[in-house]
Symmetry: D2
Subunit: 145 residues, 4 copies
Amino acid sequence: MSGADRIKQLAGIMELPGFSKSVGMRVVSAESGKLTMALVKRPDLTQFFGHFHGGVIAGLADHAAGACATLSMPEGKIAVSVEIKINFLAPADGEEIIARAEIIQGGSTISVVKVEVSSRKAGAERICAFATATMRAMDLPAGFR
Amino acid sequence: MSGADRIKQLAGIMELPGFSKSVGMRVVSAESGKLTMALVKRPDLTQFFGHFHGGVIAGLADHAAGACATLSMPEGKIAVSVEIKINFLAPADGEEIIARAEIIQGGSTISVVKVEVSSRKAGAERICAFATATMRAMDLPAGFR
Amino acid sequence: MSGADRIKQLAGIMELPGFSKSVGMRVVSAESGKLTMALVKRPDLTQFFGHFHGGVIAGLADHAAGACATLSMPEGKIAVSVEIKINFLAPADGEEIIARAEIIQGGSTISVVKVEVSSRKAGAERICAFATATMRAMDLPAGFR
Amino acid sequence: MSGADRIKQLAGIMELPGFSKSVGMRVVSAESGKLTMALVKRPDLTQFFGHFHGGVIAGLADHAAGACATLSMPEGKIAVSVEIKINFLAPADGEEIIARAEIIQGGSTISVVKVEVSSRKAGAERICAFATATMRAMDLPAGFR
């Protein structure tokens, strides 16, 4: 399968009913070892102060890290999270958050990914969170290959 | 304000429109230094395999840690997350997840909280995630005191 | 090999020249899923303020987590650290630090361990750090089995 | 105090008796928001397999993060670690390890720093660990200003 086909496969998985689709995550771009995802603000994604909720930010970072790691794994594998650690750096008070994932260490079994999350407000971006995630490879179930 | 009043205040904040309300988080119990929250599964909260999505698990853990830390802070303060780290231990394949937060170290400025998340399936519980979170105290905006 | 023999084997490994021996780490006790190690203060283990250095605390926590995970793995395996996360809760201003590791999730490939580190001063203990570590199993080299 | 003077002050603190001096940590370079430290291998700094011990790697990363954060804080402040999280990516089997710290978010109270640790072997460098650390500002005791 070509790189483009694998990205299409990933995008297809994200279109399945579930959390990533319901909150509106989308893949913005993907290249070797890097992947960017984004998410537009909605009233049901905010916390107390009207900014993106930490769980939504962590969810986007986790998903971007997993997709990024999956693309660097052998075909037929999907990355699942062993753990994720995220620092919240500033209020995510923009209209959109963008998660830029980058492989720190790829591997056929364990991968480590860093993710910078920015908040876009009136056209300007500001970093609002930084995460690292450890992923491990699982066999992609037959129906999805 | 009494402890019971503060828990009522917290529950009120959770009833505001936003992520915690929209996904259905609820406070199960709260006592000195401990707080339990839960969340029932819905199709829009799952990942690829039909289990709770990591972002939802992290979001519940984060919210439970924040509420737990808030209750241990002076009145008029609310806890905001500095960082959270979560290990995913087993698929959250139950009908409900329960997050049990407990203060490791309280403080007027910084608190550290651990959270054990269990998945309940057919009446049996199994741990599915473990998190630690660092929280700092912010002034609760005037409208919410 | 019996449990007692495996603990003896672990203690033997700790007696090999290297960091754990040079700083004076020792196993205090070990039982199923739990292991306690300790370390006495020396001038070369302190930081700026004369308390235990964060690296020494992290090193003891890491070592305790690894030994604890190793004992829960099949014979012939040794745990190596995938990652460790440690919160420093209070100055480690005692004469000794004690790390109590406990398996959160054992496994033949990946284990997750939590570690509470206390500082003992004039007979009283106070928690000074809390860590979680992810460990993976490696084959113990032939010479050490 | 000039930037150069502050770096000299930091180097002076590292020359005080204690862990950083005893293991041989040294500042390689420092500029705005970045700081590099290194450490040469010795038999008392290794683990089981003869590579740098995880505690030593974590200790160097922690120290580099703290020094880096201190330089971005107002004069008269010193950074102390709230927490550190480190992923071990490859055996640190070189003759020297180099920790490159960089501010992700500076601040007068809380700073977040990332640290890439490389192992240098026969002139070639390879990344062996990646850490993020949360630091908070404390008043530098009078004697050290």
